[in-house]
Amino acid sequence: MVLAAVRGLVLALAVWPWTVVVYCLALVSLTLIPLGVGLVTTPWVVRAARALADNRRDLARRWCGMHIPSAYRPLPRTANPARRTYALLQDPATWRDLRWLMADTVAGLVTALLPVVLVCYPLEGFALAAGLWRVVTDGSGGPYWYAFVPVGDRTTALAAGALAVLLLVVADRYAVNALGVHFRLTRGLLTPGRAELAERVKVLTDTRRDAVDTSAAELRRIERDLHDGAQARLVAMGMDLGTIELLLDKDPEKARQLLAQARQSSAEALAELRDLVRGIHPPVLAERGLGDAVRALALRLPVPTEVAVELPGRAGAPVESAAYFAVSEVLTNAVKHSGADRIWADLHHAEGHLRISVTDNGRGGAAIGAGSGLAGVERRLGTFDGVLAVSSPAGGPTMVTMEIPCALS
């Protein structure tokens, strides 16, 4: 009961002011769109609203075990602010967020305070019964109203106390539910409609098919590599060893030669396996995580590459792996095609997203398209609802940014 009250208080004091701020900013930003300023600010405000809504979803899950589904379209990947704003305003989820913000400024506050009041009001009744009645009735003629009890003397104060006990029992039963009212309201306003869910299902179906196709192709590649590489070498080694066994007495010199050859084969098989492992899951990634894996990768590049990492924890293994191979592909592209003599990679985590940017000072002109490695990167990230944006004017510089929603542990 007390916990529910405290949570209500937190909602009202620490979370609710943000609602007001973001809602006001959203209104200002939308009205400024005709002036052009709004085009730049709206994407930011919309994202702030999403973050706020996601935060409330998170609180609903943690405090009330209530799941509020979300169905945002991926953030538009164009760098053009007008197109960005347009795409965001096309998303029904944006308008739903705004409706929720509006309701939250009033109804949200009231419902958040409900459990607080339920818990605090009986306390006032106790205080009256304990002696506060003397103070509040002092001087002024009329009685002090506690609910429907006119408090004027000891007896009525005790009656107020009795009522407070009753109210406390009620509060004990219903305070948790009262907090639930707030989140039910939030859920009612934030839950996406059927059409949006259908759209989301389509996106998920597409990305799932991509993921399955990609991993099947990966497995085929690994199978082929093993079959033609390490496996073949081990067969050769086994044959050599068999021959050595035969030759050991008859022709020791020849046996020695074959031994050297077998050793060579084993070294080559190991080298091939090592390369293969690096392609499946780089050991540094397993040992050190994404930041150091990208640093190690940068050290292997022929172009000087600066890596800045600000990751307070590690993302889940699948996300790390996808992010690593995405960065790897983008870096390889930069080295191969951009003609750059410097590359910068930046990895950080903010607002629930892993953000990676790779910039080079090359000639630009990179694009996501059929046949380019970037399309593959986009598919890979799509599985994790990640997005890829490329800004690469002719003449450079090229900047590739990637965003994957994920939590760090």
């Binding site: 070294a267 690096r278 050991p283 540094v284 050190r288 190690a296 050290l299 292997r300 022929p302």
Partner: protein, 218 residues
Amino acid sequence: MRVVLAEDLFLLRDGLVRLLEAYGFEIAAAVESGPELERALAELEPDVAVVDVRLPPTHTDEGLQCALTARRRRPGLPVLVLSQHVEQLYARELLADGSGGVGYLLKDRVFDAEQFVDAVRRVAAGGTAMDPQVIQQLLARRSGDGQGPVERLTPREREVLELMAQGRSNTAIAGKLVVTERAVAKHTANIFVKLGLEVSDDDNRRVLAVLAYLDRDR
């Protein structure tokens, strides 16, 4: 010479113990996990530690971290790190304190017992043993643009540089390239002039200078 050995795969650990014992080393402890290694390094004061990068319980870079911690506590504690893969990043961390007595080799190098044992001895004596792959990566990065000082070395000098960076002495380089020691000394002097490094008589310091040069950011 007393060795602490850390390797989680039983077969490899057993093989290394036998190999090192055959060459007259005394195995002070052969352990299989990070915490055990930490204790062994702290309590047994070995002359050299041979450590696998990846160890239980985390199966990440536990071995490397133990080695680095032990070297911080006892600067210059000779450590030879073995791994299934080599990364310049790790080599850099091992070399960072500049005090030598560091080795970093692929596990495959164990195949050649003589060379491996030579590397262990070198590291124990305060020298360096860097895997040829590390050096090749460093050189490849250095000579990307086709005009750096490394590019101006003759092919022979480059060979000498590679071997020197691996940590080998002039005598060993001369043996490997089948030339006289004097010829190697001449090549080294040329290399140092071309790279603009200060010449030092101390073998170990010389190697560290070369490695630092190769690893420097352009």
